[in-house]
Symmetry: C2
Subunit: 158 residues, 2 copies
Amino acid sequence: MLSKKAQYAFRALGTLVRADLARRSQESDVDAAASDTPTSITEIVKVHPMSTKFLETILLDLKRGGILGSKKGKGGGYYLMKHPEDTPLAQVIRILDGPIAPLPCVSLHFYERCVDCNEAVCGLNRLMSEVRDANLAVLEQRSLADLAVDPDAPVAKR
Amino acid sequence: MLSKKAQYAFRALGTLVRADLARRSQESDVDAAASDTPTSITEIVKVHPMSTKFLETILLDLKRGGILGSKKGKGGGYYLMKHPEDTPLAQVIRILDGPIAPLPCVSLHFYERCVDCNEAVCGLNRLMSEVRDANLAVLEQRSLADLAVDPDAPVAKR
DNA sequence: CTTTTTCCTACCGGAATAGTAGGAATTTCG
DNA sequence: CGAAATTCCTACTATTCCGGTAGGAAAAAG
């Protein structure tokens, strides 16, 4: 199960994606940077009611993880560092919840050898690798862009 | 990530499956019941070193969950209630770790409505349903029998 | 130089995880 | 019968993790 942190992160990222799309479609200046129109924590909390302080730590994590950029001071806030399509959901989860794999010994990013088990012949290892791959097939393919998609709308092309 | 409970459970189930297969192949009496040759906790711990007391609670959980049967007293122990092929891995995980879905609002067996979110239009709900389905495609298909498979051996037919 | 924002460090209560302890109930076997 | 071997049951405990809070420092804008 995803932690509250990850759940809140996805909600917040949803509004950041919408802000990003809005900027790109409305902006007359082609070279407009995302950092020109950041979204503050206060604004996000207005849309998704939650603890401001808690969201603060979450967005900081996402910033340290390279997903968000920030601007301090008046008019400051957070913005996406990349196009929404270029941040897979897996990256968000790894930053906030750690491993996606069901076992440390089948994790790609947080691998730890398991004691008392020969991985080459361990049935559990093999099965849980399948589970991991099934997860990643979705989580590496789907991106922040998919968070903001209207399910009734035609598929968006980039 | 799977809990230690679930990990230990799979190890123990591995030896119970092997015992089950051995009984079926060696037994001359066709009507031999699994309850005739149960495997004790002590025997399991000999194969997979772990806390005896902890394993006790785990096997009890699996018994209450309908996966194992038991026999008390001298010569007693645990045995599979069904053919290994008929117990999907998902069932084991649900008993020991609860929900498989990444969010309560997309769980089939442990569903809980999420507050402040219209599931019909929630992008996260839709994406996490995909993740759940990807997981279940493996965990409902794969069974205890797959725990004991020799990876180099030809595929076993039932 | 005041206001608004992010950024940093530390803390805290409750729940969950990973066990442990002690004994009761049941079965087998000598 | 009585001893040994086993499961079964209830309760307890220690540690870690989760979810969140507190208080202020640093930076940017006007």
